[in-house]
């Protein structure tokens, strides 16, 4: 079960909790399940069938480059953070 660390702004949809467990094979499936459990969340994460521009999903230790197709291992941590580029 993936451990999802909810962004602060989305915790209101989940009753204020910081973290939820979710069974999913891919990041896309996980977000769909988040939306089913906590309606309203998905529009903050996905636009036009892809991760919202400016948003990065960290799966494990690193930001995934596979977007919604990213496979999720058991007990992996998932974070949604601001995407950044350097100088």
């Amino acid at each position: 079960m993936a451990q999802v660390f909810l962004p602060y702004a989305l915790r209101k949809y989940a009753g204020g909790v910081e973290q939820v467990g979710m069974l999913a094979d891919t990041l896309g499936e996980l977000i769909d399940k988040l939306e089913a459990a906590y309606p309203g969340m998905k529009r903050h994460l996905v636009v036009d069938g892809a991760l919202k521009p400016g948003l990065a999903a960290v799966v494990g230790h690193t930001a995934t480059r596979r977007g919604l197709l990213q496979k999720l291992e058991d007990d992996v941590e998932v974070h949604f953070i601001t995407a950044i580029s350097g100088g």
């Binding site: 702004a9 521009p53 480059r65 950044i84 580029s85 100088g87």
Partner: protein, 756 residues
Amino acid sequence: MVATYDTKTDYKVVGNSPIRHDGLDKVTGRAVYGGDVKVPGLIWGDVIRSPHAHARIKSIDTSAAESMDGVFAVLTHADFPVADEREISAGEDVVNLKRDQANVMADDKVHYTGHVVAAVAAIDRNTAQEAANKIKVEYDVLTNVSDVDTAMAEDAPIILESLVGDHLGEDVPNTNIAKVFRHEFGDLEQAFDRSDLVIERTFSLSMIHQGYIEPHNATAVWAEDGNITVWSSTQGSFGVRAQTAGMVGVPESRVKVNYVEIGGGFGGKTKVYLAPIAALLSRKSGGRPVKLVMERTAVFEATGPAPGGKIRMKIGVTKEGKVTAADTDLIFESGGYPGSAVGAAAICVFACYNWPASRITGYDVLVNKPKSAAYRAPGSPQASFAIESVVDEICEEMGFDRIQFRLDNAAREGTRRGDGVQFPRVGLEECLIATRDSDHWNSPLGDAPAGKARGRGIATAYWMNGGGKSTCDLMLQDDGTVMMNEGSADIGGTRASIAMQAAEVLGIPAEDVHPSIPDTDSIGFTGVTGGSRTTYATGLAAYNAAHKLVDELKDRLANLWETEVDKIDFADGMFSSDGQTIGIQELAGRLDPTGGPVTSTASVNPSSAGAAYGVHICDLEVDLATGKTDVIRYTAVQDVGKAVHPQYAEGQIQGGAVQGIGWALNEEYFLTDDGAMANKSFLDYRMPTSLDMPMIDTIMVEVPNPLHPYGVRGVGEVPICPPLSAVVQAIHGATGKRYYDLPVKPGRILEATNGN
């Protein structure tokens, strides 16, 4: 699944410092920079800029310019296609085309002094300038929003009326605050309650500029067939392609960007300013090539500085020296349009310590100043200044040893950053130990001459380092040398550091790999040289391409030796099987009967170049009568993962440290009351020179990055971060006063020490 590697240790090429492949061209002046570009039929462009920081454009009269002899075209925002307001991914960056287009050329409002309002193309530069000056613009001048306090006030004039702010997930219209976000973990209130000491301070920082030597430039041809060719000084040709295509409304495949050498960028050359203007002027001029080069004043006034702003920082500790909680507000100036580095600052701000509870609130705030851009570890220097200043104050107040306190609370594998993400293997602890054991830390500060005082400062910092898309092609020549095409702009010797990784795999000297950086039609997508990603990601592409080349050569050799591929071994440039051996360079001359040329290509898209940590020590002397400061000794300690080219890695660290020292001591956007920059030349915008600095000593710690086969981490960015606080803590040591506003220029020191 992220690929991890058992790090190689027996290197033949990596870890040496060969002369860079492009070195001779650069020292002889043969290297071609954007300003050198000359093409047949070239004409020149120039622009006019707003004298006002905030104004509505009532009218633009271009008739006098258009009627001048030698003028081919005049351009205003009305000539741009209507762009989409949505944010899109353009290569590596997120781009709001409508806003970026309006930043390139103002639509109905100007958002900062120096904002481009119109452009001209003419037979020569002087004629273009004269024609531009004949354009008459009528403005309705609006109240200038000069700082974040003014911008966030309830009755603040609104800079970008179409902006709908995202405030913790809520849509908010009529605001200058483009974004408010938060990372919060643990019970902050309880954690502060069980602290023995809580210190809270507020810091202010000015916008500062990257200060690259080469000004922005662009030459473009919009040919009759609709294809656009661009030459432009940039950190990423594909970024120029995406942004130019988007702003002028053509598919990306219609734009070809030729690589030219770059005279510094430091993040400031990831955005385009001139290429779309040059392209549209070319089209209006009948397909003539148009060239624009900025003056230095324009570079300062209108191209991305690093954001200034305010930071509130509150930290709790126990009397045993353990951190308990941290809370910060990062309020960053985005400039005239949304998008500062506050998101990155939030990731970095608490990343050196292991916090039981923390809260980070970020604000991206519009002000009437140039649109901010990336500058070396964007956001992290500002964040490091604030937290390390409070840490220093805590250590002094509680009598903690400054290194031991940091060691006791250091981020390690498994520690969570302020945004919740857990660290893999990181090297902060090793950096702190190297600092503690260094000659500098163990040497006395020495006595200051009469009238002067000395102090020693120390600070740490973090940068996450980027990954991203890169491509590398290899072509084995008959003589055994290898041509290499790669897509990364070479800023810090990356041709060499990338070629060396291919050479290491192939077992040949670095000099036998000849790197080139082709145009965007001739190499696969490669992101910007930025985020400390290039030696890591493009190096990884070179590593993979070299392995593919070896695999292909094994196939060919299996034919020659009439054996099976899996019976052929390859090591140190030699193939062997059943007692037969042949070197790769000898084999190269015998390939014709096996199918001809051998080439390979690899594209990668790795996640991250591994965390970078730095610890800096600064010894500094203050003239108590004048407030003048002199850095007298400086040491930068950094985890580099594996230094592919140690000399260039050291150069990156030294350069970053000097830029950070300038940020601490001198550099600022000094604005008049009406929002104009008063110090828009290198004479008045005081950056450190070699005459101001001692030798910057470096200690490179090598904690291999498990995400790279050679353990490479990004190097170029984190060294700019610790100096801001290390320098200021040294001034505190010398004067006994605390400083919360940057830069700590002589006047501020005198004000603190004498009350002047």
